[in-house]
Symmetry: C2
Amino acid sequence: MPELTVGRIVERIHPVDETFVQRARERTGQLVIPPRALGRLHGLAEQVCGIQQTLQPDIDRKSILVFAGDHGVVQEGVSAFPQVVSMEMIRCFLRGGAGINALGRLVKAAIKVVDMGLVSDLDPASLDGGENLIVNKIGPGTRNLAQGPAMSRQEAGASIAGGFRQAEAVIRQGANLLGTGDMGIGNTTPAAAVGAVLTGQGLDGMVGRGTGIDDQGLQKKKDAIARGLDLNRPDRGDGLDVLAKVGGFEIGGIAGCVLAGAVHRVPVVIDGFISTAGALIAASLCPLTAGFMFAGHCSEEPGHRTMLRSLGLEPILDLGMRLGEGTGGALAMTILDGAIRVFQEVMTFEQAGVSKGA
Amino acid sequence: MPELTVGRIVERIHPVDETFVQRARERTGQLVIPPRALGRLHGLAEQVCGIQQTLQPDIDRKSILVFAGDHGVVQEGVSAFPQVVSMEMIRCFLRGGAGINALGRLVKAAIKVVDMGLVSDLDPASLDGGENLIVNKIGPGTRNLAQGPAMSRQEAGASIAGGFRQAEAVIRQGANLLGTGDMGIGNTTPAAAVGAVLTGQGLDGMVGRGTGIDDQGLQKKKDAIARGLDLNRPDRGDGLDVLAKVGGFEIGGIAGCVLAGAVHRVPVVIDGFISTAGALIAASLCPLTAGFMFAGHCSEEPGHRTMLRSLGLEPILDLGMRLGEGTGGALAMTILDGAIRVFQEVMTFEQAGVSKGA
């Protein structure tokens, strides 16, 4: 089997099928609803039709992949929580006790956790719920991006290939809607760095408080990113370079997951700030991927809206959430479900015997 | 049995229980989530706790009441659809083929249609799905509000009492979450009139295109409302007078439904423009009712945001919807479900064995 490189993945991606989008719009126009009166629900359903190349869109087999990784940059005091929490939270996910589990159950999404690079080694065989843990570790946490590249270019490629493979596996098992999630103490720092490089937004508008750091912590975080960008000089025209210099293993995993959705024509619901950093990496490697994405929500992190705008995405929800884990994407899946139900289940004017307007 | 008057209803309403809101906030603070990191989901769940006076909130038995009525003001050419569509759409609701049915199935809400005053007479016994039609007709459509009062003060009281009784009936059958919906060709006209009176907003910022009238129709609609307000001089300090002069039978029914939620401590999810006009009437009769309301979404109708602000409500969704029927409220119930699941199902830091932050 040839090595799975980003180049080989990208050449398999084709655009969203506009013929099906158009045919879906025509069908929407026949529903017993005034023109486009359900607003964005129509466009969401039509985009799924274009992605899946069908007028019978189906998103009933949902799978959320939570990519986990640790970050050397926590040495700079950028997080309100100790690094061990990454691992502790993964154990909580596997036991079904976290926010993503509650919201995953709501939308009937399977939750898989992918260890892309935690410092701790978790053994699926010895853990409660370990059947939902996949170990695809690139390394025991990234290096400190404020002092040098977070990872090598080879590791960046491996993290994307790892995310791609794991997402491909769940697609092969039948998933027809993917969600991305993240866990990793400190990960709003690399996400903000990636966002700053790929959108051109200054750090004041991009860097936020993450899980809740104070003013002093926020300043440390901005300083660490500024030093990292200055030292590493990531090339904004080269997504793999950006990921390597200032990214994270889980961010690479998320980028790979998005690429897998695009290759296999499976819609991908992007969660918040970290997921969107991964989506930005994917789009920088292949702009066509943006057509396969749905922005689950707009996070409280200040740079998130800028990142979404740069991808041309309008968030579905805006509820002041900033948890990550995939929670905003999971909740937005309910809205996609609503959009698909309207598209599939509402009668036409003719079927309903309702008079048309002027 | 004494007559069911608005005064007798209102005296049974007590405030949301802030003790339970506070206790719920304390519980939220223990969940294995950074402080308030799921944003509005926390406040939504806590409000339900305050309404239901419990730390085990339950909104699993959902019921959406779609209040229907016709409007004499259609004579003024204010709608893009002929009046017969009100009745045709009700038949479609009963057959399960409309937007509200698709979204009601999504959230597992029972849909009941209440004929508060259609021009046509529908017979539940002879209709497909007629078991979900309740006839509580106040009259065969309102009179033309541009030429005089839409209804008498006595009819206004009867429409509120009717909505109250029907909502009370579904609560007695076990409903623990109510949604409001509407159907009635022309009903954005009285809703805008009610909104203008009760918020003080001028007509340019309040009157929109409803199901989709053109510029000329929009001007006719504004003119009709302006004439109606000038002629009828509704008293903004007297909700019953506003309803009688420029409202509608279904708007009164919605107001009654909100009052029933407040009396019986059942949360009420308000849908769009028409429902919010009903909610404004309810709040003008008893300001405490606002605490029992959730604003499902913000409609495309220009005055809706002003109306919500006047009630102190922040919409849950903002998806450019403008269908009515209860669709925005139904879809927002999925978000409330998510909020309740997080509140009930997420482990505490202690249960999860996760270290606390700084």
